[in-house]
Amino acid sequence: MRATRSKLQSIASSIRPRLSDNQPTPYSWINDAIPGSSSGKLAGKTIAIKENISYHASPTSCSSALLRDYNPPYTATCVQSLLAEGAHIIGQTKMDEFGMGSQTTHLPPHYTPVHNPASPRPSEPPRSAGGSSGGSAAAVAEGSCWAALGTDTGGSVRLPASYCGVVGLKPSYGMISRRGVVAYADSLDCVGVLGRDVQTVEDVFDVVSKPDKGDMTCISSSHRTNASRILEEHLPKKGIEGLRIGLPKEITQRTAPSLLNYLKKEGAIIQEISLPSIRRALPAYYVLASAEASSNLARFGGGWYGSKNDQASEGTTESGLEKRKRIRTEGFGKEVKKRLLAGTWALSADEFNNTYLKALQLRHLLRKEYQSLFRIPHPLFLNEEKNNSNEGLDIILHPTSIRTAPRLQCYDANSQNGIKEYDQDLLTVPASLAGLPSISVPYEKGSDGWPLGISLTSQWGMEGLIFKLGKVIEDWSRNR
């Protein structure tokens, strides 16, 4: 395993991040500053950040024409944590506009596309890196950075990780501060970590996972202490012996039997489980995410920051309302507009009870269902009784994606995609709705030679458990 990692790292150092006006690249901005000598846990490490994470030295345009000229006057807490441990922010990566999309194809017109670097053959037509953190996943996969930060609202870190053959973590909701991360849907948004192996992801996670007084949803140290104690109690003493793994029967994509056999051989107990409400929870996700987006993105166009268009009306007779309409009409892309309209509708007085509130209820049902499956207590709700301590689960396991990365050009035109995307969402959205930690680890190649990832989801705060199983799967996958 060590040998494999150092080999990958040597590849990494040979590729430099690049910007281009006509060639595909994962980057929207490159840090021209030469890193000085640094100390700390991440000294000398190069890390790319998704374009919706504020860094005072870079623009943070969320791959939107609307924020094209926006330069944040402050730095996100998670980036500050990286810098404090000696990391070098090497650049910012492209994304689906404001995080809305799963192919990193919803880009402003002046952007070149992002190509998936995990191609088995140079002759292959370009494929999507997944989204919305496709730039971050591609940057890690091509080796131009050591690790990258992404954001995951409904799968935006895990899906590109699966497509690009890298490790992608969506932590438990509230583990990493969102201060400075441009909001898509506050109740779902998580800063995620992408790296070429589980250990890299874990190292970065350890640095950015900390309390922040600037984000009231970021978990306090006392709750973190509880979570660590519970994790200690539930980590298998030896390897993965006694680890209880569940395979949800609602997910039709099968995990390779060879992997399951290996895990059993290592002492894990594998059983089929049921999460009946995940199908009903899916529409809930779209309602909640769109509704929150319509609220969060309402600030754009008011003239306080952003594109030069904001100032274009000075000296004209354009009213504030007309200006707002113009900026939003010109600035937002098609997908963003679609979701904003849907979200605005869901929050309208006539629809609220039947749409938004229903969605909240379904989300609550799903959370309860997860809690009834886990034998590990929820560190934030320790008073709740756990009565299935013997039969309950530690980890839920299933493939991250329904397929390998799709080809870039044909995706948008395919009318069947709506349904396919729905199946895809079933794999990543439930953990987001429940706020649970979930990691995608590359584990095999599809029949077309492109990578596929496996997802591991555990109780809130149990990142340590999924790292542990993730490393076992990583070893298995490399030694095949």
């Binding site: 919706n52 994470i53 504020s54 943070t60 969320c62 924020l67 926006y70 944040p72 006057p73 402050y74 996100a76 969102r178 201060r179 400075g180 991360v181 441009v182 909001a183 849907a185 506050d186 109740s187 007084k213 600037g214 984000d215 009231m216 949803t217 509704a291 929150e292 319509s294 609220s295 309402a298 600030r299 008011g302 003239g303 306080w304 920051y305 007779t317 009213s319 504030g320 309302l321 707002r324 605005t344 929050l347 309208s348 007085a349 609220f352 938004y356």
Partner: protein
Amino acid sequence: MIILSRWGLSRPFIGSGSFPQRLLHPGLRFYATKQNAIQDESEWETVIGLEIHAQLKTGRKLFSAASTSYGETPNTNVNLHDAAFPGTLPVLDLHAVRLSLITALALGSRINSRSTFDRKHYFYHDIPASYQITQHYNPLAREGKLQIIQGDNNSQRTFDVGIHQLQIEQDTAKSQTVGDNTLVDLNRAGTGLMEIVTEPDMRTSEEAGAFVRKLQGLLKRLGSGDGDMEKGNLRVDVNVSVHRHGTPFGTRCEIKNINSVRFLQAAIESERRRHIAHYLTSPGAPLKQETRGLNELTLETFSLRSKEEATDYRYMPDQNLPAIVIDSAYLEKLREELPEMPWQVVDRLTALYDVQKRDVETLIGLDEYHFEGVRYYEDVVGGDKKIAKKAMNWIVHEILGQIGKGKTSIKWSSTLIPSTTMKEMINLIEQGKITGTNGKQIIKHLIFNDSSISLNQVLNELSIELNDNISNKLDISEICQQAIKNQSKSVNDYKKGNEKVLMRLVGEVMKLSKGRADAKQVKEILVDLLKDGNGTTNNQNRSLG
């Protein structure tokens, strides 16, 4: 100063030039403008409910660390969150929550064990995020009340005003139209507000005014707000409907952003006249439900927008803010620590010491936040009921009277005349060792000179000698009798019923005593002496002065 409505106007209404024409039938002006012209006024009842926005006196904004000082250069007290920069998050000021809680408790409200924040959406330049963080679904508190006593602001009855709810929310930016431009100042944006919604329990403009004044006193006493309407730190929206007694409530109109009690009462009166005029002249047509403003020059209301134009605010829970969960033990502690309210101190002191309500209110007015005036009075009285009324007179009428005279810039404070000196002086007067006239001299001396000196020093400086109690009375009795002898004509006039001549006798006593006699006391002794027909009196058993 212009304060824009923050209630989701879809377009600005300030600076548009002229106010809308009131579409009144010419013959109606009579009704609309002359209140007493409405025939049989008593047949109509006005129903009034208030929505009050009171800024929380925390010194910082509700969700950011920016300061909230008043009158600063525009856009200097602004944090990135106040300007809704991407990625910024709200951090709730718990001090604001505490102040809101004690306000709700003082209003006798039921505190929700779990309250949450919601977003109220609208596009307007005074709200950079395009939503206001407020408490729509689960407000901090509900079901309170505030009692209005007959006589408060000329209220004709004693009754309770129900408090529907109290919620915490953000204030908006201030905007101003200068020429063709609308200028926005974010200094106020994000300041914490309490929105206090009453039940429609008031029936006259005086009652509504009484409620606002009482609430101002409550906020100041708690330190949760300064109640300053002039600065816009407290703003009132009023809902008014008018109906005939015994019939269902009429159509409700709301008048927004009123910034003085006078304007509030004027708005209600204007609205009442308008509604009655409508019902009299168009009995068949319903009154249009509207949001209205008050023209502060004509003191009449004008239409801002009708109900059909109302915005859908798309209320949604704010997921960046955790629910406020109030521990019952903490709530109990806050309840126990509530200070005595202005009306409570009035009740207590008038019952305990038989003093005038108006005088207690004067003491409260000296310091509405910490009740320094009340405390000073109670220090002087020191629980001694015998001197309680006298002490009130000396403080409210003599000390404050002296300060109020002429053009003194002296402000009252509890150290102006130390309470111990004051108490000592009142006791000397009570014992008859010095006269009331001496008391006035002493107070004047202490106000305009060093007040830290002892009473003995003051007596020295003013060459006032202490009189032995009994001889003093005998002396004065003798002098009075001497005066009666000297002024026999006046005595005769007095006995014939001309009581005014008594002052001539008093003057004679003062002359004989070289001003050392107490005029009031002299008057009483003279009355007694003259009543008894020059006989001796039994002064010893009579209270003096």
